[in-house]
Symmetry: C2
Subunit: 185 residues, 2 copies
DNA sequence: TCTCGACTACACTGACCTGTGAAGTGTTAC
DNA sequence: GTAACACTTCACAGGTCAGTGTAGTCGAGA
């Protein structure tokens, strides 16, 4: 999906503003103005604000998956591979929290095109944990993968909402212990 | 703080709507209409929408603390006391997720009167974990309390956003194992 | 009887919201 | 040379947003 130059600027600006201020709090006029583009162009490229929101979430999801995938594939030891998402957590965790959790909070309509992206992101991570745990020879993979997901999401919330940066380290250490115990059988 | 009959209805309606649809998505006209009250009354009682939002969060915080406190005090064993917040998690976890995390997503201004309530809620829970862990004779209480907070918040997110209801059980079991290991020494 | 507090009725402001219509400019590709 | 494409300009529709001003009703307590 190749974007026109204007569309790329719109998406960059919208991503920053949606994440920083919230989806409902940012109007299309602001996005168009900050992108140096007219509102007409915005609607010609994206069709509606809802679709722009979905495009924002898809782009962020894609960037994040690339980052996690790269971190996973940089490791060979199955145990370290399962822990890779925790290794990149610190680069990812910003003070406004998880963009997908935040989007979930604002998108109350289950039919919104962005909702599928949000749940897809979490499901992808859970499945990745499950796959790497299986490769590491763990038993009870389903619960273990959920456990890692809980630690991952909990770390982000405790970091951003509760203002506890140490939560990232605590979650990472807990995940490591969990995986090592599971793989040792 | 005794509320007038009108104010009570406004707060009830606002709580439902803010939680279900989101804060920015609900206008004061809707709240007034659904409360069977004029907008004038709403402004006479609460002053502004921001203050109404803060009142909503304070009321929800208060109800939740009462519930958790009751669950903690119903137990005598220090280990079970530390785990009490996980016992009431299932009653609390709804499909729209944690109201405070959702509010954090929408309130980008750190000076918003609701922000203090949100961070206060998380800090209160963390401190409760720390106090009960200390009473249970645990070492390294700070990290353990954070670990429990991570499990707690992660369970809520994994449940609501990721659509994994089993996350509640997984987090509860993990917390139990953690507390029992910590108190055993 | 008088006052006070809770509340109603309702018009109104000014800003902002998403979204559209129509006409026109500049660039590139065939 | 012409057609497709990206984009501009700008006016405008039809709502909704938070918030205010003014005048008045009704019941309870002093």
């Amino acid at each position: 999906m190749t974007l026109t130059p204007g569309a790329r600027r719109i998406l960059e600006v919208a991503s920053d503003l949606f994440y920083e201020r919230g989806i409902h709090a940012v109007g299309v006029d602001t996005i168009a103005a900050e992108s140096g583009v007219t509102k007409r162009t915005l609607y010609d490229r994206f069709g509606s604000k809802d679709e722009l929101v979905a495009a924002y979430l898809r782009a962020r999801d894609e960037r994040w998956r690339e980052r996690v995938t790269a971190a996973v594939e940089a490791e060979t030891d199955p145990r370290r591979r399962a822990l890779a998402p925790f290794a990149v957590l610190e680069d990812w965790a910003a003070d406004r929290g998880c963009a997908f959790v935040n989007a979930f909070a604002e998108l109350d309509d289950p039919g919104h095109p962005g909702r599928a992206v949000v749940t897809g992101e979490k499901e992808w991570l859970r499945a990745l944990f499950a796959a790497e745990l299986t490769a590491a020879g763990a038993d009870d993979v389903a619960d273990l993968a959920l456990h890692l997901l809980v630690l991952h999401e909990g770390a982000l919330v405790a970091h951003a909402v509760a203002g506890q940066p140490a939560a990232l380290r605590v979650a990472r250490d807990a995940a490591r212990g969990l995986v090592e115990r599971a793989a040792a059988r």
